[in-house]
Amino acid sequence: MNATRAADTARTTYREALRAALREALRGDDRVFLMGEDVGRYGGCFGVSLGLLEEFGPDRIRDTPLSESAFVGAGIGAALGGMRPVVEIMTVNFSLLALDQIMNNAATLLHMSGGQLNVPIVIRMTTGAGRQLAAQHSHSLESWYAHIPGLRVLTPATVDDARHMLAAALDDPDPVVLFEHGSLYNEEGVLDAATDSVGLDSAAVRRPGADVSVITYGGSLPKALAAAEELSGDGVDVEVVDLRSLRPLDDATVLESVARTHRAVIVDEGWRSGSISGEIAARIAEQAFYDLDAPVQRVCSQEVPMPYAKQLEEAALPQPASIVAAVRRAVA
């Protein structure tokens, strides 16, 4: 027990936290299995499932052919059949091949069956840019999924959320899509020993502040925190809100924060047009209009396919400097 506790409070990476969560889920429930491209022998293309094949065997850590539609569909069938599948899709770009399964089956079956068919599947996928993987591996399409009723869309940004969101997602009787930002896998953090579970419905204030609310999620959280740190040196007290879940959106926490700071900057790695940041800005305008003391600012990716060249990719993405600039516009 003590050993476990000591291990839990040690520094860990986002990747290791996800692996620990998978291992715990596989150990705790026979119905849980992991499948996807390269999750077994290769250890997952981002190394998340490294070693799990040796530990749990090929029945539970299943490599699949390169056919997202097929193996996501198989996962949905397994979920309908009483299993608790965790399906890994390499990147969100490839998930579009399975979008028919995810939207037309996983998300809709509960409604179309009149409440008779739950689909308890968890779909994990990598999202986001920043690692020079070019346009077909680098996009942030989570807001497309957040558009779909019937799905729960999670975006863990901290090691604690990476460690504990999977278990909560498996407990959910309905489909959950878990977006892991590719730039976070190597992020280190200290697990909170006191936390052994997390809720999935509420956003979190990662840094309290009084002057402006920076609202973000996933891979943009470290950038927002870095920007807040830089701004604090200039006397701008930034509050950073981590959405954690894009569907449902916890707008109460966002609105409460805006009601206190009167200014909002939304950081979203998605393209600006039709983005989740647009949704949040609209909710602020609808529900907190009279609390606003400045126009809502958005920091999004440039509306281009993500470039491969390092400097161009950096220029296309939200960066601490662009967040700092947006905050300065808000408090000007």
């Binding site: 609105l255 206190r260 516009r329």
Partner: protein
């Protein structure tokens, strides 16, 4: 050839005074055009003609009073052409069609009708078009929604505030600076904001020397209160013989400087009653009543030179009477010297207006938004009262309650005044 005569504008009208001609000789008029203004015993009325044609002769001078039926003007049938073309000075200009009344208005306000776009039927220029041309809408002030909300609650005129935001937009801080208040004092708490700044709107702002600005602030606030708050009013006469008798005994044991005055007793009783009837102690924020956690009793203090402020006594329900007395004296003195602290002006939960020393018997106050009630106390006066079936003369006070009907009903208000009465019958417990 037709005559335009003094019309009968009511069965009891037998004469009228021509106030003004809206047409000149030579003007073309159409049936239904307003051509003159006539004053009757009751009101001033615009009068239409019943014929189309040219006004060939005006028979009456403005200012003359004539019997009904007296010819006022001669209108010749129109030769031809559209009925209501502006005569215009010099060669008849092809202006948009406009009635004589509109032409008259345009002449008065110095508007060139040719430059006005007609929005009426067939491009006719209406009175509204002329008004718009004469008084173009002021440029919209760029201000944040929060700044606008604050400006209303602090009684600040946005047009007078210099904006420091981007493109000169007025921000909340600019409004606060203009209101002379700082920080959260006097700021409305955001509806639904848990644990944020908690101060609701300050009643009458600050304690600066009363000037136009203060008057303006009071004007705005009170107008808003009367406009937005559906007041209901209750009144009751409270027998103060027990309270004043107890106070006399108490005062006989005190030094002159420490003596109590009836106002202190009354305020303490109001504070305790507010605690017992919490539905009247709090604020109307965001469309619902938010009860206050403690009693911060606002006391309306009129300032020398006009105006008033309502600083608050914190925890008035828990202050022992002598302390309340001291706090009250201190507060009034400082209010009149313009030395109030922001915390004292910030956030009363219930306000008392005590006009006893001004001599009136009854005062019905106007609620300070966003509070939901105002207690009025009149002069302590001897009145005949029935005691045990006999007539006696006792000191009494008329206590009134103005309350927000959105937040409470008459039964609640009644309970409050009854409680106040009961508390004052047991002064030793105050």
């Amino acid at each position: 050839m037709g005559e335009f005569t003094m019309p009968s504008l009511g069965a009891d009208m037998d004469e009228g005074t021509l106030v003004e001609w809206l047409v000149a000789e030579g003007a073309e008029v159409a049936r239904g055009d307003v051509v003159a203004v006539v004053e009757t015993a009751k009101s001033t009325i615009e009068v239409e003609c019943f014929e189309s044609g040219t006004v060939t002769e005006l028979l009456a001078e403005p200012g003359t009073t004539v019997p009904v039926g007296t010819p006022l003007a001669v209108i010749s049938p129109a030769a031809s052409g559209p009925p209501a073309v502006a005569p215009g000075p010099g060669p008849a200009a092809a202006a948009a069609p406009a009635t004589p009344l509109v032409r008259h208005q345009a002449a008065e306000e110095g508007v060139d009708l040719q430059a006005v776009h007609g929005s009426g039927r067939g491009g006719r220029i209406t009175r509204a078009d002329v008004s718009r041309a004469a008084h173009p809408a002021p440029a919209r002030i760029a201000a944040s929604p929060l700044a606008r909300r604050l400006a209303v609650s602090l009684g600040v005129d946005l047009a007078a505030v210099r904006g420091t935001g981007s493109r000169g937009a007025v921000k909340a801080d600019d409004v606060r600076a203009a209101a002379g208040s700082t920080g959260a004092a006097g700021e409305e708490s955001a509806p639904g904001a848990a644990g944020g700044e908690s101060a609701p709107a300050a009643p009458a702002g600050r304690a600066a020397p009363a000037g136009d600005r203060d008057r303006l602030a009071i004007a705005r606030l009170m107008a808003r209160a009367k406009r937005e708050i559906p007041h209901y009013y209750l009144s009751t006469v409270i027998d103060l013989s027990a309270a004043l008798e107890w106070m006399r005994t108490e005062n006989s044991r005190r030094t002159v400087a420490d003596r109590l005055v009836p106002a202190a007793l009354l305020l303490k009783a109001v504070a305790l009653a507010a605690r017992e009837v919490p539905e009247l102690n709090g604020h109307w924020i965001g469309g619902r009543f938010v009860p206050a956690t403690g009693v911060r009793l606002g006391t309306a203090v009129s300032l020398r030179g006009g105006g008033l402020v309502a600083p608050s006594l914190a925890d008035a329900d828990r202050l022992p009477l002598p302390d309340l007395m001291a706090a009250l004296k201190d507060l009034v003195a400082r209010a009149r010297h313009g030395r109030l602290r922001a915390s004292e002006t910030a956030d009363p939960t219930l306000t008392v207006t005590n006009l006893g020393d001004q001599g009136v018997e009854t005062v019905f106050g106007v609620i300070y938004p966003p509070q939901v009630a105002m207690v009025g106390l009149g002069r302590v006066t001897d009145r005949p009262v029935a005691v045990d079936g006999m007539l006696a003369v006792h000191p009494t006070v008329t206590a009134t309650l103005s309350a927000d009907h959105r937040a409470s009903d008459g039964a609640t208000g009644s309970r409050f005044l009854t409680t106040l009465d009961r508390l004052l019958q047991h002064p030793e417990d105050l």
